[in-house]
Symmetry: C2
DNA sequence: CAAATATTCAATTGATTTATTGAATTATAG
DNA sequence: CTATAATTCAATAAATCAATTGAATATTTG
């Protein structure tokens, strides 16, 4: 048996997976797909890529079987091939947080409130989920809320909060969540809510993390 | 706040981690380092790389802070920066196993016995660890056994098994383990032991997996 | 069946990564 | 202080990856 050939061939396959995810744009695309199925156009818009470029990156992910395509009418819809793919992104982030000082620096630069305002962990939210005075607020676009949200959560997309503040009773505590720890929607929502006298905090992680942990979700 | 700049910068950092691991040789180097600290020369020899090339790949891993260097005398010894780094390799492998048919094909080609001989899972071994008639056999090089091994395991490196068969009582069941699921030492040991009338199986995973699961280990 | 739309494919260019080689650096031993 | 050994650095060529552009394909609509 040729040890060397075996090791080389098998590690080449493992490297295929790692190479597919090892790109700024593809990481963002996977993050978006973790919210649910999306068309190429939607993904291109969200990730600020040209359609052709987005398509190319999606092909790269597809070749590594990290995502699956489904054609319906004119559109091709992509989704994650396996929840483990999102877990991979999570783990990469976790290592980056621990090992790369730059990550903390970037967060401190862009999300100045993060350091001051302690986010609510998933576990904390679980234990408080049935408190009567607590509102769990999904601030992602409505489509994403529709595709799946934390059981019992209300939807007010970040773009609409300003106009819809009256829907939120001022005496209740609000926990806002969005796409994940590196999504800024919840930070912005909390900032706005706090400035209007609400008691508000963000959930540290996002919907995909909640779902991955097999916690109660709803679709509608 | 500039969303786009934040997303780009933060994902660039995450991509750094993924890019560092996304190479055939670097995956092998990390796998070796999961056994314990190694010098550049040892790593180069094991991974069949020139010293300069190995050093270069090690720099790439070091720049992403996935490994740490320690200089002692003439030699530089590298080790994993965090157990999570090995977890990353594990997860990549898990995804590759599930998603890439090639992985199964390669294993079937090189490790023909794997399909027939059911390996012992870590959990199975835990529950049987205190059976009197069971020998847990570490077939890695002695150095690696010395740096850490499954509590109670005996060491006979794969190269020496043939000559040292007499040390193994023929009536006891043997579970052999090595560096990991994609290390062939244990497969070869089991094959040899079976051909000499022993009852032998390999542990599915390797020592780093055992250690990562915080199971009892010994050093000597 | 032609027009319109979403996506992919193909070709090009520039940027990044990899392997190789030999020189430079650092530490030890005599 | 010199010779030796281990590792890193620097320079190069080859290979691979990324972004852009425009053409090609597939599906729907009229």
């Amino acid at each position: 048996m040729n040890h060397r050939a075996f090791k080389t061939e098998i590690n080449e396959q493992f490297a295929r997976i790692a190479k597919a995810i090892a790109n700024t744009h593809r990481l963002e695309l996977v993050d978006l797909l973790a919210q649910g199925e999306r068309s190429v156009e939607e993904l291109a818009n969200e990730a600020a890529l040209s359609i052709a470029n987005a398509s190319q990156h999606l092909q790269a992910l597809r070749e590594a079987h990290l995502i699956i395509a489904r054609k319906q009418g004119l559109r091709v819809y992509y989704r994650l091939a396996d929840p483990t793919v999102y877990q991979l992104v999570q783990l990469i982030r976790q290592i980056a947080e621990r090992q790369l000082a730059e990550v903390e620096r970037i967060i401190d630069t862009y999300l100045t409130e993060r350091k001051v305002l302690e986010p609510v962990t998933i576990n904390e939210l679980i234990s408080r989920l049935h408190e009567p005075g607590l509102i769990v607020l999904d601030v992602r676009p409505v489509l994403e809320y529709t595709q799946g949200h934390i059981a019992g959560a209300r939807s007010i997309p970040i773009d609409e909060i300003q106009q819809r503040l009256h829907e939120l009773p001022p005496d209740q505590e609000i926990v806002a969540y969005c796409r994940g720890a590196y999504c800024v929607f919840a930070d912005e929502a909390v900032q706005l809510l706090l400035s209007h006298g609400y008691q508000a905090r963000r959930m540290q992680q996002g919907y995909p993390d909640w779902k991955l942990a097999d916690l109660p979700t709803e679709t509608d």
